[in-house]
Homo-oligomer: 252 residues x 2
DNA sequence: ATCATAGTCGTCTGCCTGACGATAAACACT
DNA sequence: AGTGTTTATCGTCAGGCAGACGACTATGAT
């Protein structure tokens, strides 16, 4: 068919962010409170419109910086510190997903180490880290038994997809280190896996696995005691990005 | 920030399709020849605009049916035959990817059994199955040493991503059966893996692996000789979608 | 001093995979 | 009919890795 500029309908394109971190042994996501309709007062994922001259990844990185102050870890600079991992997740385009107009949202997944406090344009009450389990408990009750409204739009689906991506991707990649500070111990890394998967892992087998995989961890020489008990060696993430054989997630 | 209808630029949204099949022991993709500028006369991936009232998956299924006549296999109907597998791949939105205007393309990946001949609105010369290796050989030469122009737009990148997705996904899922007819032999399934991965697999170990994984294959009772040699049992795809432990891709 | 807590090193067993021998059942020849 | 070729299928064996778990080490708390 020939090209006809009037043959296509206009869309709004946004990026939405699933920003995950591990806090207090729980997998948490960044949620912002909506200030205007639709879904006014409800929690939602951070996001915004893609600008006219902006790539999708650029837009996601910009929104991430606006919401959290995080800069994106550049894979070409392996030793860079405190950067978040950012990748495209999936695109959501149901015609009715936004009642105002036709919006296609390109969701991105960001993994970050534990951060101080979230900020949303300076208004802290409008952004928070919430356990994903709580955010996905549709119409249920929060930690203090207060009622929790489901996330706005289709953001529960997006969050669920992002969590599932993170859960499966730490199996076969070194992505779990993105949840850790620049230097970390084997125990801290193990607690990341335990929080993301929601399981308990054998500390001895985990230690053997991660220290025995070439390129996964490189010792920095230092030791620390951060959780009580015997001091542990400090490591940083090695150059390897793929884990082969993978870390096995215990069934059930 | 408050909602402002004039605050977002309009985008065109398209779906592009990476349609893969296995023909003559080679992984092939569907390519269509562009009839108008830009990239007139060059090969491209099939695709088109998303309509105003259409979901992204619907648009992809519609384009797939228009180009190939294939219907999409509905996962809720396990015994359905001759349907293609369709899943979202990734979204490409570089501001300069289409010189005409700002276009965001939601690429989809389709896997289909070997089909008769492609049709593109009845004009067969405008659509063909080409080995992916040939389509990705940028500026190189085809099978008959004729020069080959690279794919239009960023379609080489999209195709490359789709092929990589297919290569990795048949490792840990039963997706390779989507390349097979409704009933197939273990040898035919093995040739799918060999074509997609570009390696040779040991027939004995492969047979042990696939027949030993519960729920992967169910025997239909029949036997066939399609490649010469001793007749082989016929199977159809079982209900299992995940392979655990996965099929291991030989290194290098 | 004793206990609790974490980290680290070993051992053992079972499962899975890769390498490969052997047999079975068809077809194409002579 | 016999022989060779091709493909399918079953078995065997050794090595690697993961799960289960014992043992020891090094810190802080009581």
């Amino acid at each position: 068919m020939p090209y006809d500029p009037s043959a296509f309908p206009p869309f709004a394109v946004t990026v939405d962010l699933v920003v995950l971190t591990v806090r207090r042994h729980a997998l948490c996501a960044l949620a912002v409170r909506r200030g205007e309709p639709p879904f006014q007062g409800r929690w939602a994922l951070p996001g915004g419109f893609v600008r006219a001259d902006e790539d999708l990844a650029q837009a996601a990185a910009r929104e991430l910086a606006e919401e959290t102050g995080l800069r994106v870890h550049d894979p070409s600079v392996p030793a860079q510190d405190n950067g978040a991992h950012l990748e495209q997740l999936a695109t959501y385009g149901d015609p009715k997903r936004d009642p105002r107009m036709r919006v296609v949202s390109v969701a991105h997944l960001a993994l970050a180490p534990d951060l101080p406090a979230p900020r949303a344009g300076g208004d802290a009450s409008n952004a928070r880290w919430a356990p994903v389990e709580e955010l996905l408990r549709q119409g249920g009750y929060g930690r203090d038994a207060e009622p929790v409204a489901p996330l706005a739009f289709d953001h529960a689906q997006i969050l669920s997809d992002g969590v599932e991506r993170a859960r499966s991707k730490i199996e076969y990649s070194s992505l779990a280190t993105a949840f850790c500070p620049p230097e970390f111990t084997v125990g801290e890394l193990r607690r990341v896996y335990e929080a993301v998967w929601g399981v308990a892992l054998d500390p001895r087998n985990f230690h053997r696995k991660v220290t025995g995989t070439p390129g996964f961890l490189v010792p920095t020489g230092g030791t620390t005691t951060r959780q009580g008990g015997r001091p542990a060696q400090l490591f940083r993430a090695g150059g390897a990005t793929l884990l082969n054989p993978p870390m096995l997630r215990p069934e059930v």
